[in-house]
Amino acid sequence: MGEYLIRRTIQAIVTLFLVTVFTFALIHLAPGGPTQVMIAPGVSPEAFEVQKRNLGLDQPVHIQYLQWMGRLLQGDLGTTFKNNLPVGDILWPTVGNTLVLMIAAWLVTLIIALPWGIYNSTKVYGISDQFASIVSYLGFAMPTFWFGIILQQIFAMNLKWLPLSDMWTYGKQGDIGDLVMHLIMPVTVLSLGFLASYVKYSRASMLEVLDQDYIRTARAKGVKESRVVFRHALRNALIPIVTILGLDLPILVSGAALTESVFNWPGMGRLFVSMANAREYSVLMAIVLVTSVFVILGNLLADILYAVVDPRVQLGRKGGGSK
């Protein structure tokens, strides 16, 4: 176990290192190089040289990378180039808002999808199962932002039941009831796609377990069906879902970004889109890094959990979590 943990952590650190190299290289691959990207157009040649020296862009590439990494490790994400604000000051408040949205969507998905999938695995090809497959086809084929716009039109514009966008009504910051009202539509939109896959996963995973010998043994002993499903089968069926939860994190983050843009949610994704339109590369790099760290940690956690709950995972084998 200890060996596996260490191996997996080293793997995560290597991945993280590669992500930083990758992001750094991307800026350097841009047409005109990082000077073009980092320094505002239209400055005089003298000012350009000064700026270049201030940003350390006259150094060789590997030195620049090390300096950048050094600053990152101290928690310094750089400054915006328009008004020289520290990137951290803009970024961190939005992270919390995004987490609120993501965790809410995640909980809603699990609360609905798991019981639904389990029920469907006991009644394969029943009405509920077929309905679930319709939902999943729609969930995979529908552009999530479109679903969001349609919901806005129906529930905010026509029926006026729910607030159109944003996180709080003006002047009501901190009111939980208000927050919940604002959460309903974004969470519905964000969970739909996941609902589709998780009902499928949990159903498939349950079916696989229900097919095994020990389940037959349990039934043969005369164990009650509900006990077979919930005590004997469910525990083992949940294991693969833990990994999938980790693997789906990047999709959840991307989905949250789109949903935030539709509903004007003051989160990281909306910040990213507006900063991309303003070409604020330091903020963009910072967000890519922060989300990657988040995703890598999530995967690490999922893999460790997997190893903890499933003794069958072959510890110490290479690439334990990469499937």
Binding site: W146, I149, A257, F272, L284
Partner: protein
């Protein structure tokens, strides 16, 4: 792609019709596919969209980008404009058709490009193994842990939002699935005796990979490619919706939706049409993918459940 292959195989088989010869694997698959109602309907839906959007200049007299403020915001079924016009007086049906061109082109080219990248990476990784495999798979891990949408936006922001960059970056962020799939397949296949035999008679690695191994893992690749078309169309629409994809004189379904959201109060139908188009096309592509998967899987169920149940009732004594 697979359709063409099927067709060729079938005609080739028919021409040397030998009654004692059993149907080949492609013919069996084609037969199964044709008998799948969802897949066949989807093929027609997709064909309809492809034909209609690529024949757009012959089907509609309007220019999709021409602004005509005198005829702005016309309701559906008004004179000369079947679906009405938008806030700038552009004919909506025309814009939908021209948008379809861009969305479909991006969908298919991204799927093709990422299948090629993914197959080559996966093939090299799985066939050679060792440190090459480790390096390539670490790279796949890195790509998987970057949130794709953010990466796409970052690249488009840096390099500019031209059509070709969009195809490149979308393919570059979606090949990993195929790579893992092909690698897994190759890891199994490279231990086969025919590979050993080929090596023994001195067939170069390149030929073993492309002539012996790749054709044997073509089924999952085809299925994956089909499903990727839908994913690419969705990604394109999302990027265009966010204002970082297709730009103004050109038009795509995502861009139309982004305009429509601004004019939600004046014309609510604007949001419905492009969304329905995306939904139908992606749904069709996914159904075709599922159909192909069932048809190409030799271990898949050969008979519909309903018929099996009927048989069970008729022929088995213990049927419940």
């Amino acid at each position: 792609m697979s359709e063409n292959l099927d067709q060729q195989e079938i005609t080739a088989a028919d021409s040397q019709a030998d009654l004692r010869k059993p149907p080949g694997p492609w013919k069996i698959a084609a037969g199964k596919f044709v008998r799948n109602p969802y897949a066949m309907v989807s093929v027609f839906v997709l064909l309809f969209f492809v034909i209609v959007s690529f024949c757009a200049p012959f089907l509609t007299p309007y220019d999709p980008a021409k602004i005509d403020l005198k005829n702005s915001n016309l309701p559906p079924f008004s004179d000369g404009h079947l679906l009405g016009t938008d806030e700038l007086g552009r004919d909506i049906l025309t814009r939908l058709l021209y948008s379809g061109r861009i969305s479909l082109t991006i969908g298919f080219s991204v799927a093709l490009a990422s299948v090629i990248i993914g197959s080559v990476v996966g093939a090299i990784s799985g066939y050679f193994g060792g440190w090459i495999d480790t390096v390539l798979m670490r790279f796949v891990d890195v790509m998987y842990s970057l949130p794709t949408l953010f990466l796409n936006i970052l690249v488009l922001a840096i390099f500019g939002d031209e059509f070709i960059y969009m195809i490149l970056i979308l393919s570059f962020t979606s090949w990993m699935g195929v790579a893992r799939l092909v690698r897994g397949n190759f890891l199994q296949l490279r231990e086969m005796q025919y590979v050993e035999a080929a090596r023994a008679i001195g067939v170069p690695n390149r030929n073993i990979i492309f002539k012996h191994l790749l054709p044997n893992s073509i089924h999952p690749i085809i299925v994956n490619a089909t499903l990727m078309v839908g994913g690419a169309i969705l990604s394109e629409s999302a990027l265009s919706y966010l204002g970082l994809g297709i730009q103004a004189p050109q038009t795509s379904w995502g861009l139309m939706l982004s305009n429509a959201q601004e004019f939600m109060l004046t014309n609510k139908w604007l949001t419905v049409y492009p969304g329905v188009c995306i939904l139908l096309v992606v749904l069709a592509v996914n159904f075709i993918g599922d159909g192909l998967q069932q048809a190409l899987n030799p271990r898949g169920k050969k008979h519909p459940v309903r018929r099996l149940n009927e048989w069970r009732k008729k022929f088995s004594k213990s049927a419940a």
